[in-house]
Symmetry: none
Subunit: 151 residues, 2 copies
Amino acid sequence: MINKRLIIFGVTLALLMVVLQVAQYRFIIVGHSAELYAGIVAVIFVVLGVVMGRKLTKPQEVIVEKLVPVTINPSAPFAVNEQVLEKLNISKREHEILLLIAQGMSNQEIADTTFVSINTVKTHVSNLLLKLDAKRRAQAIQKARELNLVP
Amino acid sequence: MINKRLIIFGVTLALLMVVLQVAQYRFIIVGHSAELYAGIVAVIFVVLGVVMGRKLTKPQEVIVEKLVPVTINPSAPFAVNEQVLEKLNISKREHEILLLIAQGMSNQEIADTTFVSINTVKTHVSNLLLKLDAKRRAQAIQKARELNLVP
DNA sequence: TTCATCGTCATACTTTAGGGTGATTTTGGT
DNA sequence: ACCAAAATCACCCTAAAGTATGACGATGAA
């Protein structure tokens, strides 16, 4: 397969050369400069070279390893600490949003998955930050994890 | 980096053209045929084209999923998975920042505790988001936890 | 020495997050 | 039916986060 293509390219190249040789005389006859001719030849063959390079050489493969976490010990059951939820007055809905926050979702994404407006999500998040005594959602994640509110 | 190479190639190409233009006169003066000249030009530029094609085209990425064993054992002491760090090209400094992010710190707070400017922190965070394939820091926290990069 | 990487910092810009306030609608319990 | 809490939504504004780009010195490997 590779050889076949190579032959084809070789023939094509040879033919192109002949064509150019013929054309060359016309150029000279009509008095064009050799510089122009050389430039045209150069451009054509650079393009040809690029095409050949791409076709004939195997594409350089770069293996990109995508890391996929695999849980080794599934015997660790997570249980939400309901007592803490009550103590902090975190409602069911708020806890749902909290779980989504802990998964790294943005307000917009949470709004999309819970089918409410982004404003509603913001309200819930604000309330959560108050109840968890956090300044940012990242801090809320940390605290929620410590309190066993999220896995 | 790519642009730099491209410019270098462009300049090289231009210089080569000039060289050939000059050489051309000598060929003509000494009475060599234009065919020979065209052939030389063609060969040179085909080679150049091949080289350019190989250098400038991005290598094709082959994504290979690699499974990372992750222990979900709360009783076991936390150990950073150094292999993952290497694989993701996360530097020592970046990992430091990652730990602080996972603790819920803001960029400003991280800047204060690491004694660098907030701009530097932003740069590190941006790089971390790229390397962890995360859109937000909360998502980065989640992914880092799954990969045992942070407790 | 040269080259690549890392760490540092800046500037400008866009996007997202968060705060404050107020309002309407559900919903569950009495 | 009524009330209180929960849930919903909006608007405005500020703060923080994130993107893109470029630059520069230090460091370490080839």
